[in-house]
Amino acid sequence: MRKGILEYCILSILARGEAYPSEILEALKNAKLLVVEGTLYPLLTRLKNDELLSYRWEESNSGPPRKYYRITKIGSSFLSELDITWTELKQAVESLTKK
């Protein structure tokens, strides 16, 4: 269950602009959504294989080249779909947990 949400979060982060994995990790860690970094990479690859994300290489002065990920058109439409699902989910949970 959490993985689906992680994917949603990754897409949301990338919807704000392109980023390389360390930046995505940073954002996820700050939100306390990620315990171990390794979780991210299979997700990124899967999203990329599903054509929701694309990437480009960029040389870095301070280390190895960086893979900058960016959300694709398909990714954006999927994200807006997810937004709706998420809102529904939230409402559903709230309707049950409020009482």
């Binding site: 689906g4 994917e7 990329k48 280390g63 779909e81 989910l89």
Partner: protein, 509 residues
């Protein structure tokens, strides 16, 4: 002293202690093993190695050039156990929500858009009835085909049935008890959908693109066909225009003897002056060129989708040309129209006869050829013959009136149109119509003539015959007036009309 090994992680070189290398190597091997069934495993490992390189680079300082075991441990801790992130399900997260706090809810009818083909009415109904949706759809299709009210019913249901929006509503729709367990499974379903849907979504997008490109292809085919059609139309018009303008063919069926007239020749018979004729010709040329050009351009644009400023400028050029052409034609038309503005009529008493029978013999000398054969076909109104600088028109109108005295009175009555009354009268006077009297027989032609310089101005000839009481009129030996009772049911009118065609045929009304 420790042995160091040179390695590179995705192109970044590192010096690493042997023990640290072992640790790192084990980790990556384990990761590879776990990911072996995963699509894009190499890429994941590449990403992980990149991250490692990044973390190592951060750790290394000018004074510390070799990767040590502690550093590797640290990095591996950050990255996490391959077993954890390599596998899909995080079982450790699972907690038991088994305390059932059941909330039995009333089942409600919702539209199920997740399983919809159109509006999800059938799917929702199937949920409500707990039937198979295919069965419901089959019934529905039968209703539409045989009942006729199926279609409106569908739209009514579509409008009045709410859509199941929230997870809660979706459970209500399916009639599942709403409790934490079912809610959780619904939510897990949703989460799973997020995971799985991404692939479906991608495919869906591709399919949509497929449909779109299919439509595009269809549109393309139509536009090419349309383009070919306009090109062909333009070319046909072009050839026609060339033939008409340069060949000046005789195509107007204007002459009684079956000969034809060219547009230019016909124009000179109607148009006031040679200048008008030029205007008309240029007007036609401009209009034709612009229409043909626009057709061609439309065709080319439809077939080859390219944009060019030349096309745009020539488009405006052609439109301008068309405007000029139309203006020229309208000017000529207006001027010619003005030449028809006023009607002039003259009449002249020809004969007065004291007789009971008046014979009218019409002879169409022009249709008699040298061998004495007579043209049988009707010389239709409006047919023109030009000879010796005179225009020949055929067909004479006859009007019968009651005589005020006991005599036959025969008048001829000429009409013509002109720019003003005087000109119209002059043109009417120019009309030459031959009649001769021989005893009680009037010999007349079925045609009349006027000078070519007068132009065609609706010149017409009418014979007005005033018939005394008991008087009879015979045309070519046949009694035509008064009409026989059985021929005309109504009583004979005060005035009656007849028309002698070019070939001498008599029509009355």
């Amino acid at each position: 002293m420790n042995k160091t090994i040179s390695i590179h992680l995705q192109g970044t070189p590192f010096q690493i202690e042997e023990r640290a290398y072992q640790l790192l190597s084990n980790y990556l091997d384990k990761l590879k093993r776990i990911l072996q069934n995963e699509k894009g495993a190499e890429e994941i490992i590449q990403d992980v190695e990149l991250r490692m390189a990044e973390l190592f680079t951060k750790q290394l300082q000018p004074s510390k050039k070799v990767i040590e075991q502690t550093m590797v441990e640290e990095v591996l801790a950050i990255l996490g156990n391959p077993e954890v992130f390599g596998e899909e399900n995080l079982n450790s997260e699972q907690e038991s929500f088994n305390k059932q706090t059941e909330l039995i809810v009333e089942k409600r009818l919702f539209r199920d858009e997740e399983n919809a083909i159109i509006g999800g009415v059938c799917a929702g109904f199937a949920n409500y009835m707990n039937w198979d949706v295919t069965f419901i759809r089959a019934i529905y299709i039968c209703l539409i085909i045989f009942g006729g009210f199926g279609l409106p019913l569908y739209f009514v249901l579509w409008i009045i049935t709410p859509k199941a929006k929230t997870s809660f509503e979706k459970l209500q729709m399916k009639g599942k008890p709403v409790n934490l367990e079912s809610m959780k499974s619904e939510i897990e379903d949703a989460a799973e959908r997020i995971q799985k849907k991404s692939k479906v979504w991608t495919n869906k997008m591709k399919e949509e693109n497929g449909i779109q490109s299919g439509i595009k292809k269809l549109v393309r085919v139509f536009s090419v066909l349309f383009g070919l059609f306009t090109l062909l139309l333009g070319t046909v018009l072009f050839i026609t225009a060339i033939v008409f303008l340069f060949g000046d063919p005789d195509f107007i069926p204007a002459q009684v003897n079956g000969e034809f007239m060219s547009l230019g020749d016909f124009g000179t018979l109607i148009l006031e002056s040679a200048v008008d004729s030029d205007y008309m010709i240029w007007g036609i040329i401009f209009t034709a060129i612009s229409v043909i050009g626009l057709l061609w351009m439309t065709g080319i644009r439809a077939i080859f989708t390219f944009k060019s400023s030349i096309i745009r400028y020539s488009f405006f050029g052609l439109v301008f040309m068309m405007v000029v052409g139309v203006v020229l034609l309208s000017l000529t038309g207006a001027k010619t129209g003005r030449a028809f503005a006023v009607n002039g009529e003259i009449e002249k008493e020809l004969f007065s006869l004291d007789t009971t029978i008046l014979n009218l013999n019409f002879e169409n000398s022009s249709s008699m050829d040298k061998q004495g054969f007579k043209t049988v076909s009707k010389g239709e109104m409006g047919l023109i013959k030009v000879s010796n600088n005179r225009i020949f028109l055929h067909g004479i109108e006859i009007e019968y009136k009651k005589s005020e005295d006991s005599l036959f009175h025969v008048k001829h009555y000429f009409t013509a149109n002109g720019r003003d009354h005087q000109k119209a009268l002059l043109k009417a006077k120019h009309i030459d119509f031959k009649t001769t009297l021989n005893g009680n027989t009037i010999q007349a032609n079925t045609f009349y003539t006027f000078p070519v310089s007068d132009k065609l101005r609706d010149q017409k000839v009418k014979l007005i015959i005033k018939v005394p009481a008991n008087g009879q009129v015979k045309v070519n030996g046949k009694i035509v007036y008064p009409f026989l009772e059985d021929e005309l049911e109504t009583k004979i009118e005060e005035n009656s009309h007849a028309f002698i065609h070019g070939d001498g045929e008599y029509d009355s009304w």
